[in-house]
């Protein structure tokens, strides 16, 4: 790829797309918080918000950047891990190297695959019906995505799978957030420490936020 020939450049790409996805996670979460409003209000506002997102040209552009980010982040991950794939000759028969690093830092690919699978299902469940499906309209004439979401979150199987994915996201972020900054060259010991701390807090907040909504809905409705 243009200017991304070396593995380090590829890591920049991973970092930039990853950080963009982090930003998106925040925005998406803020939108989701509307689900926690009193029921009537929530329905109207959430549906209006969804309609706004699908109509706005700026949001559309951002959405395309988001799709591209997801695709690049995934393709790049696959490319890099194929590149470092081991031959049988270079595998240890007795391996205790795990003591030197966190499991989730070594399993970013696995966590990523879970997240990718989640995304595909997520798109299929909500994005696809919203865009192309036949949804009822709410009082304001907006597509009633709200009902679809609430219905899903009252299904224990769905909530469980959703929780697994969010936990995967938590660990993915726990490594990915600071790692992105390191890949981009943050070498100062003090700021690197701060970023590491922010990364932990960020991962926790995202995880609590995304997990809290379905669990709250499941319990309260």
């Amino acid at each position: 790829m243009l200017g991304f020939s070396s593995t380090i450049s590829r890591k920049y790409l991973m970092a930039i797309t990853g950080l963009f996805l982090c930003l998106f996670l925040v925005i998406h979460l803020l939108g989701n918080f509307q689900l926690l409003l009193p029921e009537d209000e929530a329905q109207l506002q959430y549906n209006a918000y969804s309609a706004f997102l699908s109509g706005n040209i700026l949001v559309k552009i951002i959405a395309y950047v988001l799709y591209i980010s997801i695709i690049l982040h995934s393709i790049d991950a696959i490319y890099l891990s194929f590149k470092s794939r081991k031959s049988k000759k270079t595998r240890y028969r007795y391996d205790a190297r795990k003591r030197a690093s966190k499991w989730y830092s070594r399993q970013m690919m696995l966590l990523g695959v879970i997240l990718f699978a989640f995304l595909v299902i997520h798109f299929y469940d909500f994005w696809y019906p919203f865009k192309f499906g036949e949804l009822t309209l709410d009082q304001q004439g907006n597509k009633d995505l709200y009902q679809l979401v609430i219905a899903s979150f009252q299904n224990i199987g769905y909530v469980a799978w959703y929780s697994v994915a969010i936990l995967a996201l938590f660990f993915h972020l726990l490594h990915g957030f600071f790692s992105a900054f390191r890949s981009l060259g943050l070498y100062h010991p003090y700021y690197a420490q701060i970023i590491k701390l922010i990364g932990v807090i960020f991962s926790l907040l995202i995880c609590i936020g995304y997990l809290g909504i379905p669990i709250y809905i499941f319990i309260s409705r």
Partner: protein, 249 residues
């Protein structure tokens, strides 16, 4: 009190051979003995039994030359942190323990025989730019350019690398990022290294990819197993320098 150990050692005739583990027993070992002296003892025993001794790399036996290095129970240079294989002593093991000994493995480090591997890829990396291009006789008076103490110390922290390859052997991606990062960081910190700064990092990173070293995923394992405790932040510095050089270009 004397110790007994069982050793499972990787035996491989040459780089084409498939290799396998052989098991050996050693008795009457002194806990004050170093790990490599234990291998000496084993070899003596093997030779006396007309069996070929185990080949392993070693030289200074005081932790600075970087020539020794094997995987001991699945850990580069063994369990204690920040030491080389030659600094490991038997008192770290228990009587009756089984120790598994394997060579450092990586695509860029082919096994030559038994526990000996070819690490000349590291030399190739340095040759691709890990130097300051000053020739004998060109140097100005040393005190012309003061270097703040903390800069000199930072440079030293990076320059302390002994080139043993434990970082590559430990890394799940077989990345040489810590080795290259340490050299880039060492030379970029010093005013003397500035002239070739961009060229150096671009060349070294390209060569690193060509030599079949993997990429860095920031797991941080390399620093944990590094005998000199070289910080992973030097990898961040490498990333920074590379980005800077790319943008400048």
């Amino acid at each position: 009190m004397p110790m007994k150990l069982q050793l499972k050692i990787w035996r491989q005739k040459n780089s084409d051979d498939l290799g396998k583990f052989n098991t050996y027993e050693l008795k009457d070992l002194n806990p004050a003995m170093s790990f490599l002296e234990m291998l000496d003892t084993l070899n003596l025993q093997l030779i006396k039994n007309k069996e070929e001794p185990v080949e392993f790399d070693h030289d200074c036996r005081e932790g600075i030359c970087g020539q020794c290095g094997v995987m001991i129970n699945g850990i580069a240079h063994g369990k204690p942190k920040n030491i080389t294989t030659c600094q490991l002593h038997l008192r770290e093991f228990k009587d009756g323990d089984t120790i598994v000994i394997e060579p450092f493995r990586a695509k860029a480090f082919p096994v030559l025989k038994d526990l000996k591997v070819d690490r000349s890829a590291f030399d190739t990396l340095i040759a691709s730019g890990g130097y300051i291009g000053v020739e004998t006789g060109q140097a100005p008076e040393a005190n012309t350019t003061p270097i703040p103490q903390e800069i000199a110390e930072q440079a030293f922290d990076a320059a302390a690398c002994i080139g043993c390859g434990a970082c590559v052997a430990t890394c799940k991606n077989e990345s040489a990022a810590l080795f290259v990062g340490a050299k880039i960081s060492h030379l970029a910190a010093l005013p003397q290294g500035k002239a070739e700064r961009e060229k150096r990092v671009l060349n070294m990173v390209n060569r690193m990819d060509e030599l079949k070293f993997g990429h860095c995923t920031n797991t941080g394992a390399c620093q944990v197993e590094c005998p000199q405790d070289i910080s992973v932040l030097h990898i961040a510095k490498l990333n920074y320098e590379y980005l800077r050089a790319k943008l400048k270009k």
